[in-house]
């Protein structure tokens, strides 16, 4: 086993304890939503949750919980439950295990109680068609309505579809007013939109800080921040405040030369979703001095970026710095459109290979590892075209197959052997 040299100082992130506290608080708010007289939406992933915030609604995440992702026996049971009901392996693996939890009656189970939370509505800012179909099945199963806002992808003229985004958003608000039986508070909407912007900008800046050598964070730590976005809490003031605090700490680490991984010799890009049940995948290259510093999947999921004409990744400036006013419902929704339509790279499926190449260059990546996920169709789309582009550009790349939520579909030994061979070139 190769010995890793310590090249850079490391230290734990101070803000992690704050993050844990905040996670507990928002989860607690969700579990107590009914007692607190709050409406409840099944939602999460992607964004536009400021719209829910305008109703004081709490969010029960549609994604499975960490407990469900990590408990291998439980994951197998959830998969089986979905399969028994006819939802086969073709369906999105992440949302399928959530579906399994619906069928087993454990979805939304309040910790320590026998009671389950029943949301009033399924709400999503929809991006992937698998997500849309899975959300439809949840709504069916729970007998509740759906309200979705679709992110139009029109190559190459996204801005032209702003009107469609706005029409849907106004429509969604009207629908939610009926479902929740209360009016939309436009002041809270404005505040929520501002916070969504702040959260995404701070995450983009944290991602940008990863360009430094050594990178201030391990990718694993970066991903742990993404939880608030996944769970649909980016519109909350305390979440935006937390992200800005984390950004300040990460930038300070860069100034002081503090590393996420002290043995950083080879900077790697990990692409695609991770096998959630394995803690070791991201750590494994460390024994060769390799560390994952960047990921298109996670950077674009959580931050706001666009690619300039030379192919560099840029962070947009917030609307209030560009003279766009946030003064009423329509202007708030326009600022949401202004955030998601041009800056959610995730949505530009056919540009992904070029985005990834730009990322590899801007973040000084030495090599890339691609996870071909049998369970996440959304992220696996055009992934192999990126592999071709990387090879053409002379960036070493390998891929491995797995299913992000099905341990039976992941051969960890094979992954490790591939990494052993891959890292050999930098010895």
């Amino acid at each position: 086993m190769p010995v890793t040299d310590v090249l850079y100082p490391t230290r734990p992130m101070d803000c992690f304890s704050k993050m844990k506290e905040l996670r507990r608080k928002v989860a607690w708010d969700t579990w107590n939503s009914r007692e607190n007289g709050r409406p409840l939406a099944l939602s999460g992933e992607v964004g536009a949750t400021a719209i829910l915030g305008a109703f004081d609604a709490e969010i029960l995440p549609s994604m499975p919980t960490g407990r469900e992702m990590r408990d291998l026996d439980w994951v197998v049971k959830l998969n089986e439950a979905a399969e028994t009901k006819g939802y086969g392996r073709d369906c999105c693996a992440t949302l399928r295990i959530a579906l399994g939890a619906h069928f087993l009656g454990t979805f939304g189970l309040i910790p320590g109680k026998e009671e389950r939370l029943k949301p009033d509505v399924v709400f999503s800012l929809a991006l992937c068609q698998g997500q849309m179909k899975a959300h439809q099945s949840y709504a069916d199963h729970m007998g509740i309505p759906t309200t979705h806002i679709e992110l139009p992808y029109s190559h190459p003229r996204p801005a032209e579809l702003t009107d469609y985004f706005l029409a849907q958003s106004h429509d969604a608000i009207e629908h939610l007013e009926k479902v929740f039986g209360r009016p939309c508070d436009d002041e809270k909407l404005i505040e929520g939109v501002r916070n969504e912007w702040r959260s995404r900008l701070a995450m983009a800046r944290i991602a940008e800080a990863q360009k430094a050598v050594p990178a201030p964070l391990k990718l694993k730590n970066f991903i742990s921040f993404v939880v608030f976005e996944w769970r649909g809490w980016n519109h909350r003031a305390e979440v935006a405040d937390f992200y800005e605090m984390a950004q300040a700490e990460v930038e300070e680490r860069v100034r002081e030369g503090i590393a996420g991984f002290g043995g950083e010799k080879v900077r790697l890009l990990h692409e695609g979703v991770l096998p959630w049940f394995s803690n070791q995948v991201l750590r494994y290259p460390e024994k060769y001095g390799g560390t994952y510093v960047a990921s298109w999947t996670h950077f674009t999921n959580s931050g706001a970026f666009y690619q300039d004409e030379e192919g560099h990744w840029r962070v947009p400036s917030p609307p209030w710095e560009r003279g766009l006013e946030l003064k009423d419902r329509d202007s708030a929704l326009r600022c949401l459109a202004d955030l998601y339509l041009p800056n959610l790279m995730n949505n530009f499926v056919m540009e992904r290979p070029d985005h990834r190449l730009g990322l590899a260059r801007d973040w000084n990546v030495d090599g890339a590892v691609y996870a071909l996920d049998r369970g996440c169709i959304g992220m696996a789309t055009v992934l192999l075209e990126s592999v071709i582009l990387f090879k053409d550009a002379g960036i070493p790349v390998i891929n491995y197959e797995m299913c992000c939520t099905n341990p039976a579909d992941f051969d960890e030994g094979y992954y490790q052997t591939s990494i052993d061979a891959f890292m050999d070139r930098w010895r």
Partner: protein
């Protein structure tokens, strides 16, 4: 029953020769039936559906992950191996992620491809969906004008709408006949009519339908287990198999059949709005039917009632998730109305032997229930 009418079948088999000899401005391929073909036709181009060859292939592995559906890999294989080298361009309207991968890879690796991409709302009930799609259809019209130096005005579009609507009307006439107690048309003929429709000029296809209708007039019908094919299949093997086993496809809800032609464009008024409305409001595919209340379930069960269906076969390509999500819901709804349901999965080719055994077992059960 008189001999089978095989011209639809032949037209489908000879689709590449037909397209190569097409006398118009050229041929435009499309991958998804949400492509507003009328606009391309109005520009003097022949829109044809890109279809698979149902043969094992070895060229798509570097481009499309092997857990993506066989259909999108099969069509990409046709592009990469030059089967569609006569196309002037490829048009794609967003539907599922997998086929978007096929489109993207096609643009990257099939030389000299003009690509036309359009956004098409997935939440088709939303306020603004028609307006958004109209904008995209108009963008497509303008791109065609610019790329091929043609003018696509309202009169050209009205004429195209007329040709397409006439064809749709004739197709409906044939489907209406399938409601007879003893259908005079074979399932294979019905499916071949649908398939050939997607690769021919509608004027030629309508001529064939008229000829077919005359021939059918003199036929006597037969009783058979009334069967509905649901999902996505472009392989005639299944209909042939059913015909040979005493089951008859009397109706379908197939992307290569009824879903493609069922709805007309309302003529009169702004043709772009009329076209956009038709595509947004047409019989939905599972990708587009993603909201509550579901439209597709009602559409399928209504058809099953109208056509007195006893057996429904849900068939779609392996690794197709949109169909995978709908299948349990459709099964439950159909079973709830007393229809027997059989779910079959298709890869590059149809495993006929395996299908035969499963269909036989189901038919035996049905006969028992009937007697």
């Amino acid at each position: 029953m008189s001999a089978m009418y095989s011209k639809f079948h032949q037209a489908y088999e000879n689709r590449h020769e037909y397209a190569r000899a097409y006398p118009g401005r050229g041929v435009l391929g499309y991958m998804c039936t949400y492509a507003p073909e009328e606009v391309a036709y109005a520009a003097g181009l022949l829109p044809v559906r890109i279809v698979g060859a149902h043969e094992p292939e070895s060229v798509t592995a570097p481009h499309i992950f092997n857990m993506f559906c066989a259909y999108c890999r099969d069509i990409l294989a046709q592009g990469l191996t030059g089967k569609y080298d006569y196309l002037k361009g490829v048009v794609h309207v967003n539907c599922c992620e997998k086929i978007r991968n096929a489109y993207d890879s096609w643009l990257r690796h099939v030389p000299d491809t003009h690509g036309y991409y359009m956004f098409m709302p997935q939440y088709i009930w939303h306020k603004g969906a028609v307006a958004a799609f109209r904008q995209e259809v108009d963008g497509f019209r303008r791109s065609l004008e610019q790329d091929w130096g043609v003018s696509v005005g309202d009169s050209e579009m009205d004429r195209a709408i007329e040709v397409y609507n006439e064809n749709r009307g004739l197709m409906r006439q044939v489907y209406k006949m399938m409601q007879e107690d003893h259908p005079r048309i074979l399932g294979e003929e019905l499916m071949a009519m649908g398939l050939s429709n997607q690769v021919m000029d509608k004027v030629d296809h309508s001529r064939l339908i008229r000829e077919f209708l005359v021939q059918v007039e003199g036929r006597s019908g037969e009783s058979a287990v009334r069967t509905m094919v649901i999902g996505q299949t472009d392989d005639l093997g299944l209909a042939q198999l059913l015909d040979s086993m005493g089951a008859r496809v009397v109706v379908d809800e197939n992307c290569f059949g009824l879903r493609y032609f069922w709805d007309q464009v309302e003529s009169g008024g702004d043709p772009l709005t009329a076209i956009a409305t038709r595509y947004v409001e047409r019989a939905p595919c599972p990708v587009k039917d993603a909201q509550e209340p579901r439209r597709r379930t009602t559409f399928v069960t209504d058809l099953a009632k109208q056509y007195g269906v006893a057996l429904a076969i849900i068939i779609y390509p392996k690794f197709c998730d949109p169909h995978g999500y709908d299948s349990p819901v459709l099964t439950e709804a159909l079973q709830g109305m007393g229809v027997e349901v059989l779910e079959l999965e298709q890869d590059f080719t149809i495993p006929l032997g395996q299908f035969r055994t499963r269909i036989e077992a189901t038919l035996e059960m049905l006969q028992l229930e009937v007697s």
